[in-house]
């Protein structure tokens, strides 16, 4: 029998004022999310270099200085390349794996578990593992396998291949996340739709294009949003593998921001970079969400 509190019951009274229920959560969120965000915004408009005694309001000064700096644009370019490559490739691999493993194949459960395994490996550990694997002097892949195949270049010390190496490590590490999301979405598609399509004479290609893909779009968008935000914020994997190098070939905004704040001691400009990263993540999310709403 359902419980119906009387009209005078405190819960009924609170229900008339939803803010009563929301307030605790809002206060907690304000403390742990809003305050640091506002502090970051405040910091980004301050001139605060650790070794200079004067701190003052500089308006958009930090942002203007950033936009005039070639290092910023280079980092933005690297971040953009990393974002596109890792998001799209992990989506492509994740989708391929999800489709393959949604069918009844031998040892499907074991293979699924193996694919999910990299997700359990912390990015720092994954970074070290890939760094050692690809190392030109002692790495199993970079030092022995590739040279045996005639590839003698040092992957991590090459201005283009270093980024490719990091993208490979990222895809290895994060594709399983995309796989999980897409597999769950695939399994929720009613089989009746496929049966009806087959009765109407649809082939595998048409089933994929007109049933699977459209019904997967929400999951794809959600997966891409998570992957994009993750790619914009990635620090540990890159720091461990190349420290942003060689030179600045793999210096993303997160590495540049960290260096600016903690090596150059420019806290105001470091905060400005963090704000730019936040805006970039918001724009990417909005762009993808719009696609979801269509």
């Amino acid at each position: 029998m359902a419980y119906h509190p009387s009209k005078r019951h405190p819960i009924r009274r609170l229900a008339r004022f939803p803010i009563g229920f929301l307030l605790p959560a809002v206060l907690v969120l304000a403390a742990i999310v809003l305050f640091p965000t506002l502090y970051l915004l405040w910091l980004s408009v301050r001139h605060w270099i650790v070794f200079q005694p004067q701190q003052y309001f500089t308006g958009l000064g930090n942002f203007i200085a950033l936009f005039r700096s070639s290092a910023f644009w280079e980092s933005l370019r690297v971040t953009g390349s990393y974002l596109l490559l890792t998001s799209l490739l992990s989506f492509a691999f994740g989708l391929g794996l999800a489709i393959s493993l949604s069918k009844a194949i031998f040892a499907r459960g074991v293979v699924r578990a193996l694919i999910i395994l990299p997700l359990l490996v912390p990015p720092v550990v994954a970074g070290f593992a890939w760094k050692f694997l690809l190392n030109r002097e002692i790495g199993l892949v970079g030092g022995y396998l590739f040279p045996a195949l005639g590839i003698t270049v040092s992957l991590l010390a090459h201005p283009t291949l270093a980024l490719v190496s990091i993208v490979i490590a990222d895809i290895w590490s994060k594709t399983s996340f995309m796989f999980l999301i897409l597999l769950a979405a695939l399994q929720s598609i009613p089989v009746e739709l496929y049966e009806a399509a087959r009765i109407d004479g649809a082939g595998a290609r048409q089933e994929f294009l007109y049933i699977t893909l459209p019904l997967l779009v929400p999951a794809i968008i959600i997966g891409l949003i998570f992957r994009a935000i993750d790619a914009i914020n990635t620090f540990d994997l890159i720091f461990v593998m190349t420290q942003g190098g060689p030179g600045t070939a793999t210096q993303t905004l997160s590495i540049f921001g960290w260096k600016t704040a903690f090596t150059y001691f420019d806290l105001g400009r470091g905060a400005a970079i963090a704000v730019v990263m936040m805006v970039l993540a918001v724009i990417t999310t909005l762009f993808l969400t719009k696609r979801l709403q269509r």
Binding site: F51, Q52, P53, N135, E137, G142, S154, P159, F262, T263
Partner: protein
Amino acid sequence: MRKILIVLALALLAGAALAQQTDIRVIAFAQGFAWPDLFGSTGTEKTERLLAFEEQENINVTIEWGDETAVRQKVLTDLISGAGRYDVILLGSDGAVQTYGYSGFLEPLDGYLATGDLDQYITLSDLYPQFLTANTVDGNLYGLSYYSFGPGIIYRTDLFDRYGIEVPTTTDELSTALEQLKTGFEADGITDIYPLTMRGAPGEEPSLDLTGFVYAYAGYPAWFEGGVTTPEEIRSTRAKPIFTGDFRAGFESFVNLSREYGPPGIATHTWVDMMNLYSQGRAAVLLPSAINGYAAITSTENELVRDNSAFAPIVTGPSGKPIQSFWTFSLGVPASSKNKAEAVKVLALLTGNRSMQAFADQTQWPSVTIPSVMHSETLVNRWGSDEIDLNEAAIQASDPYYFPYIPELAEFMDKIGTAASKAITSGDVDSALNELQVWALERMTTAGYYR
């Protein structure tokens, strides 16, 4: 019942005694091989020596270990927030002591040490003066050094003998020796040994070595016009950066040696990589930070490396001055510490004679700050008095001011190292230095040096 009361009373007394102790918190890296005499070989114990110190001085010492990068971030955060969590902090003479010293974040140590009260732990006149100079900013001593090093060459005697190579004494001879090694390896079909290992990773790391090349080629710290090294000199002479000027020759030499004779991945190599390569017998010469060679020799399982390695003085450049590679693992006391006098006592304990000797006993590296420890039985027996004398001479010939002492040093070190990494990869020295020059001029202008 009576027993319980006695135990409780004793516990309260002990608690009261502990409560009176002053807590001093230290933050540093190198857990395990730093201060084994105080924190044991795990870094988590309190040895009898430390307990005796605590009892004598009524101080409770706590140490917080971390990875070097994490430690540096914690120190910075603590200093700028003024939280005063740490009483003894890791500095290092390649940026931190300069930045924090000029900013007023550090407590000058001169006054505390002049009283003579700390002589039982450390006496400044016992130290190599170079290590004190390196931690002196604007006339104030801000840091005391634990293990620290000067430059040198660690090389494989068997490979030098095999190809009839003389130990080089100049940069020209060094190039010749490396070329002979390269030719010899090619002729013998040896593809897994590189003539040279150095560090070229982006960031401040290579700067410590490559600015030593600049010094040897130019004959002075060729960062700013006239070789000025302090903010006051730069301001008064309005000295502009000269990264496309006299800085170039040493930078180019470092880049070319790395490209021609180093391992393929050198543009991303840190001290760990250079040490590992030498330790595994994959490099014939390691320079100029000899400490990494000693670390390799004492830890290697490769008998060829262990039995056929030697130290040689670092080569001199065209100017007649030697290549530099000088660093101090220094510690200081933040101005925000609430217990500065006690913190200085702990600092003296950490960097004094007995601690340095314990380090030498544990590691056997001649990378110490005190002559009596350098000539101690442990190190002389391990390396021989000739090699010890050479190490001492390397420290004494070091010029800690081979790079400028400016608050922006850490940023410059990072930019210079990153430019080197880029040039090693691309081979384009001009564009790396042009970029550096433009950035440096803008940086110094916005910092107000040329008003």
